[in-house]
Symmetry: C2
Subunit: 298 residues, 2 copies
């Protein structure tokens, strides 16, 4: 089968063998938000040469305004509930060679246990890929990103989730705010001392709205040079996220994602005495395979 | 004399009589950050017809990269310390009729009592204008804005200050973030129930990074219509600012600024049982007059 992880700003496709192992992979730059009206064409180009009849999609491609809107499944939700929420998409006329394929899209998960509620779409496949390895008991999974997700899993069931807008805020402040003025352009490599100083800013449990201004004063007072200020800001935001997210959650924390960002979170967590387990973002493919089997497709 | 309150994105000029009372006022749209190389010309147009020989300036016009860089005075700082830090600016050749005038620029204040430190530039004139009314004892002054300032005053001396980037974050999130997607365009009037719901989000003392996502879910779940989401976001940010800023500060709180924004802060503070006193932003003119007298200019 083919697993398609189609987020708001990225597109990753995986080819899996009959046992669910990834045998090939490709990356695209066209996020689901930019593909309205041409999803079929973009996907056909990405999976050219792969003749597998089953295609499972996940991510913003299944959001309102996406290729197909797949309603959220409410938590508590296990793999069977997610599989039952999958919707079949008729894409037979969208590209040559699509006629013999079946397209299925995975639902996101909504947590309506609080007044505000919370949602995720796409990350649920990574959790699904992790469930068997987690086994019984209560587990905390963190998926860092533009919108980081902190997910509680109990005995194979997703029981709650919370989003932190850390990555998006970093990008906004990095490019559009007064804090950007003192910073070097581009994305310089991580500077560990500046990142640690940023983490330390959150130790007092104070206000992020206030702490952020320390990036400005660090520039004014010459505390850090321009090229390490992004690391200082990153540490401050991740430190704030981690400090608040940990309240009430079990440890260790399972981190899922790419090396760079997960490395920053692992460092922030270990600094607070929290053990971590790291897992690759390719879990999404394993999760889609698991859901396809639960649905009786694979 | 003429008092010039020249911030990063606004320009206000006041004409004062010999007793310091405001007899005329004008507003311009050209902030100090946009006037590099033509400060004299812009100011000449703003004060055309006013022949007063003394011109006192304050705000970002005196920052690094401004018309003249006036070094920060460190707190604790009283009116005499601020007056002593004023610098004279030679603007005689910048515009016709400038030759007979004296131009002086007020310094900002730096708080270096913490590792990160803090600064303000412009707001110190409003505090200076308030000092006599405050009298002895310990007082908390809040100046809401793009960068809100929370200032502690003891017996006529500014002892500490803290910045919250609330207004800037509101503008960033309102226009550039995923939260903007569900919002109506423009700046609709304040919706009190939505603003109160935003304030309530901060009651738990949780993470702003998480709470902000409630604006997204409120849109997804249809909790609020698009035109009241800006009020919900505003309440959330001001609620977070107020909750953290109050820690360790004396009450009541003196609020300085324009009616609309000060009204929101007054509501947020009263909701927490904190009494407020409101003061107009025109205090800046009174403060510049007071500093000019302390310096022996007026």
């Amino acid at each position: 089968m083919i697993a398609v992880d189609w987020g708001g700003s990225s597109l990753r496709v995986y080819r899996l063998d009959a046992g669910g192992a990834v045998v090939d992979r490709r990356r695209g730059e066209e996020g689901a938000l930019a593909c309205a009206g041409r999803y079929g064409k973009v996907l056909a180009a990405m999976i050219a040469g792969w003749d597998d009849p089953l295609v499972v999609l996940a991510g913003m491609v299944g959001a309102r305004g996406g290729w197909i809107e797949v309603p959220y499944v409410r938590c508590p939700a296990d793999a069977d509930a997610l599989a039952a929420g999958m919707l079949r998409l008729d894409a037979s006329r969208e590209a040559p060679g699509f006629g013999y394929r079946q397209f299925w899209c995975v639902p996101g998960i909504a947590d309506r246990t609080s007044t505000t509620g919370d949602v995720m779409r796409g990350e649920e496949t990574q959790i699904a890929g992790l469930l068997d390895a987690l086994g019984g008991g209560t587990h905390t999974v963190c998926l860092p990103g533009t919108h980081s997700k902190w997910v509680q899993v109990r005995d194979g069931t997703i029981t709650s989730l919370a989003t932190a807008m850390t990555g998006e805020l970093y990008a906004l402040l990095r490019t559009h705010s007064i804090l950007a003025r003192g910073m070097a352009e581009g994305e310089p490599p991580l500077d560990e001392p500046a990142f640690d100083a940023g983490l330390a800013c959150s130790d007092g449990g104070g206000s992020l709205l206030h702490d952020l201004f320390a990036v400005r004063t660090a520039s004014l007072f010459g505390r850090f040079p321009a090229q390490v200020l992004p690391s200082f800001l990153s540490g401050m935001l991740i430190g704030h996220e981690v400090q608040f997210a940990l309240a009430g959650l079990s440890t260790p924390v399972h981190l899922v994602g790419g090396d760079g960002l997960v490395g920053r979170y692992a460092h922030a967590l270990r600094r607070r005495g929290v053990a971590v387990h790291r897992h690759p973002e390719e879990l999404a493919a394993a999760g889609m395979f698991r859901l396809a089997r639960a649905r009786g497709l694979a």
